[in-house]
């Protein structure tokens, strides 16, 4: 037994154990009724539906979850969790799986989605708040979708909806400390 391990808190080995450790949810409660997938707004587009994700978690198949962009297409709308008869919360399980998968393979998420999240978090790290102009530029650079929606910018600006100068938190160092603290926690945990 390692230093961290004892009878009551074994080091999680399987994907289901890891999800349980991270969320307190027991994926084994899933009895594959498919009610989550029946209500999932993205089920029409994904190859793995919420109940498939639950199944693969229980079968300890991170490879299958990583090989597919499905888990990155969860909108987090929580319809699955609201209707799950067995209180499995597939959305939160999916969140945890994303975190576990991304830790193992940082490029697992589709580029556009990765680009969006990275640009978004970058804005917060920089300013403490979101500069939408900065977000869009950051996203375009990261995703390679340089000209998408370009025609929208003038309309946005004429309506006073795009600010060139980002709003900024005064104590932005404080926000950066939170980022650093969370990153450090992730490495420990």
């Amino acid at each position: 037994m390692s230093a961290h391990e004892d009878a009551h808190h074994p080091v999680p080995r399987t994907l289901a154990d890891k999800v349980r450790a991270a969320t307190g949810l027991n994926p084994a409660r899933c009895y594959q009724c498919g009610k989550c997938s029946a209500g999932c707004p993205m089920a029409a587009e994904t190859t793995l539906r919420p109940h498939d994700v639950m199944r693969l978690v229980n079968q300890d198949r991170p490879d299958r979850l990583m090989d597919d962009e499905s888990i990155w297409l969860c909108l987090g709308c929580e319809t699955c969790a609201a209707r799950c008869p067995n209180e499995c919360e597939p959305a939160r399980v999916t969140d945890a799986v994303r975190e576990i998968v991304a830790a193992a393979r940082p490029d697992a998420a589709p580029r556009a989605i990765r680009a969006f999240h990275a640009a978004f978090l970058d804005q917060i790290r920089k300013h403490g708040r979101l500069g939408e102009m900065g977000l869009i530029m950051g996203y375009k650079l990261r995703s390679g979708h340089l000209f998408a929606d370009a025609a929208a910018a003038p309309g946005m600006m004429s309506r006073g909806k795009l600010a060139f100068v980002a709003d900024k938190v005064e104590d932005v160092e404080d926000v950066r400390r939170i980022f650093a603290g969370c990153a450090a926690h992730g490495e420990e945990g």
Partner: protein
């Protein structure tokens, strides 16, 4: 001088794996007062018992301690052995070194030490045991059956046929219960009423059955063999002796638009009504909340309608009637109160642990009905004379969707159990619909098909293979009305794709729940129930129809979801238990009951207030001239369950529990600490 024998059981590997039984026997052999200590593989076996008997004779033992399993398991066995060797059975006790030791520990050394402690403690107790004798109480050979559904009917008939009298109490106007509402029964598809109504008539005509319909149990006193039950006979508004059931009053009643309970709201009935044509007894009842005359009277106005009174040739209508109370003495009670169906509405009758189905419209979507409503539609005696028609517009549905596990197996809605019968009746419904509606589509959403029973799986397979029911494995996420149809949004987990159906009607197989008011009835009977209200059986395997209160038995769906054959089997089982009980002249009970020392009792009656069984009575202490000196507490040994609450409460320490005296318990504690 005590001479105690200690017998340590290995229980095969059960104890022996974790406890060094030989070491326990050796250690106990060293305890003062222990004349003999041995270990053996299976002490409960015949050779094991012989070992004990032989030792009692050879070593002139005065007491026996068996270190083995729980006394629940084998105390009787060992006491019988001790008794047959000439010891008072109550000088034989068990130290539980299995459930309390070997099963819950892993470390052999400390488990062995604990087993030695437990055995030593019991030795100290047995040293102080005194011979006790069993208590004998008389039996009233008459039974009360609560609930007149198929379980109650079967129990009443079996008991009465066995020669004992029965009082059958039914809270509805008629007996018959839910079975009388069903169309056909699975897996044989025979007509429910056709097989039930002869039984109902048999009850009515049985010389040893006293039927009290429209009645409820008000209070219960007493104990096994000697219950005193007060029954409330609700005011019927009709004189039972005068009425001949001609039906003139119900025909005359002008208020005929009241939703019929029997038809689950799909049909109508008058304000004075017989719930259904084959009702037993065939006596009408006045719906006091809807009778025009009684409504007017309650508002202080003059009588607005006398149609039924005018119609009745025998002067049987009696609006002055009040609830009456009758007291019956019985020796045994059978609880057979049956079930109700879970409803998906927002309002769950104040039950915070239950939730409705907002995603299915909280029961507000027209033509979404439950299984019992479908039974009424399918029943030849129902509001549509057996035609499956939409309640909203009377149209024949071309597509019906059946949803299984609505409420059941849904912890998020508050019910985690399987209702057991739904898989079967949904298959039946799909078949009935397909028989009646040629070419109609029957789509069944299910999670698992649970069809364990004789001919059951064959039945569900027949629905799929021969009758064209479409089974889709998945739960439905959402339902909503879209114009004329009900959109059912599901997922086919076997096909791996979204599966939606435009339904004309949806039938929900909703969960079975115990009847409302079960908790208060259970409290009157001092029987325990689970968090859903189902009555707990005394042992899930070996005492399935007994409760934790002696003399009270349970049958049918008030104990757990049950189908008809299960309910009938349970009912017959309770009858056999009741008749077995009644075959005794006197009952024997264990003497581990509380005893009051009248000399020191101060008569404060704290004990009376805390006794959960009502076992404490008042006793006058008189002098030789017959003058009352004081009033003290007395414990009725027939009622006392030996819980010891009075002992803990008594300020003067004048009440003791036989077999568990303070002295004995102190000695055990001392032995542990010493």
């Amino acid at each position: 001088m005590a001479r105690i024998g200690v017998f340590v059981c290995h229980c095969g590997e059960n104890i022996g794996r974790t406890v060094d039984c030989h070491a326990v026997a050796e250690a106990l052999g060293q305890v003062p007062g222990v004349a003999h200590a041995v270990d053996y593989k299976y002490m409960c076996s015949d050779p094991g018992q012989q070992l004990i008997k032989a030792a009692i004779a050879e070593k002139q033992l005065t007491g026996v301690v068996v270190a083995a399993c729980s006394p629940h398991m084998h105390e009787k066995t060992f006491r019988r052995a001790a008794s047959s060797a000439g010891l008072n059975p109550f000088t034989c006790e068990m130290a539980n070194v299995r459930e309390h030791c070997s099963w819950i520990h892993e470390d052999r050394a400390s488990a062995t030490a604990k087993a030695i402690d437990l055995s030593r403690m019991m030795v100290e107790k047995v040293k102080r045991n005194v011979p006790l004798s069993t208590i004998r109480i008389p039996v009233t050979r008459r039974a009360l059956v609560i609930g007149g559904g198929i379980a109650g009917i079967q129990a009443a008939l079996d008991i009465a046929d066995g020669g004992a009298e029965v009082v059958l109490v039914e809270k509805a106007p008629s007996i018959g219960g839910h079975m009388s509402q069903l169309s056909e029964t699975f897996p044989t598809l025979d007509c429910s009423q056709c097989i039930l109504t002869p039984r109902m008539v048999e009850v009515y005509q049985h010389p040893r059955i006293r039927l009290m319909s429209w009645s409820e149990v008000e209070s219960v006193e007493g104990y096994i063999g000697n219950f005193k039950v007060t029954i409330r006979k609700k005011a019927r508004g009709v004189d039972e002796d005068k009425c001949n059931g001609c039906g003139a009053c119900t025909r005359a009643c002008p208020n005929k638009r009241i939703p019929s309970e029997f038809d689950c709201g799909l049909g109508k009935r008058p304000a004075i009504y017989v719930p259904f044509p084959q009702a037993v007894p065939n006596l009408p009842v006045v719906d006091r909340a809807r009778c025009t005359l009684l409504i007017a009277r309650s508002k202080g106005k003059k009588d607005a309608c006398m149609k039924c009174v005018e119609a009745c040739q025998r002067g049987a209508i009696d609006f002055e009637q009040k609830d009456r109370f009758v007291t019956e003495e019985v020796g045994a009670i059978v609880v057979a109160t049956g079930y109700q169906l879970y409803e998906i509405g927002r309002d769950q009758g104040g039950r915070k642990d239950l939730h409705g189905y907002g995603e299915y419209g909280y029961g507000t979507i027209p033509d979404v009905i439950d299984g019992m409503q479908f039974e009424r539609l399918a029943s030849a005696s129902g509001p549509t004379a057996g035609r499956i028609l939409r309640p909203s517009d009377g149209r024949e549905p071309r597509t019906i969707v059946f949803l299984q596990c609505v409420g059941s197996r849904d912890p998020a809605k508050g019910i985690e159990y399987c209702s057991k019968i739904c898989c079967m009746y949904v298959a039946k419904h799909a078949m009935l619909y397909r028989h009646k509606e040629n070419g109609g589509r029957a789509v069944v959403f299910y999670m698992d098909i649970r069809a364990a029973g004789k001919g059951y799986d064959e039945f569900t397979r027949r629905a799929i293979e021969e009758e064209g029911a479409e089974y889709v494995r998945g739960r439905v996420s959402r339902m909503y009305r879209d114009g004329d149809v009900i959109k059912v949004v599901g997922f086919d987990t076997l096909g791996g794709e979204p599966f939606g159906v435009d339904a004309d009607m949806v039938v929900l197989a909703t969960a079975m729940r115990p009847q409302p008011g079960i908790e208060s009835l259970a409290q009157k009977l001092s029987v325990s129930y689970d968090r859903h209200g189902f009555i707990n059986e005394a042992h899930p395997k070996l005492r399935p129809v007994e409760t934790n209160t002696a003399g009270v038995f349970v049958a049918g769906a008030c104990q757990a979801p049950r189908d008809i054959p299960d309910s009938v089997s349970m009912a017959s089982a309770t009858a056999s238990k009741v008749l077995g009980l009644f075959s005794n002249e006197m009952l024997e009970r264990e003497p581990t009951v509380a005893r009051v020392d009248a000399a020191i009792c101060a008569g404060c009656f704290h004990c009376e207030r805390v006794c959960p069984y009502g076992a404490v009575t008042h006793m006058e202490v008189k002098d030789r001239q017959g003058n009352v000196l004081k009033v003290v507490a007395d414990v009725n040994p027939g009622v006392c369950q030996g819980c010891g609450t009075c002992v803990a409460t008594c300020p003067s320490k004048s009440v003791e529990l036989q077999g568990f005296t303070d002295e004995q318990v102190w000695a055990q504690i001392q032995a542990f600490l010493g």
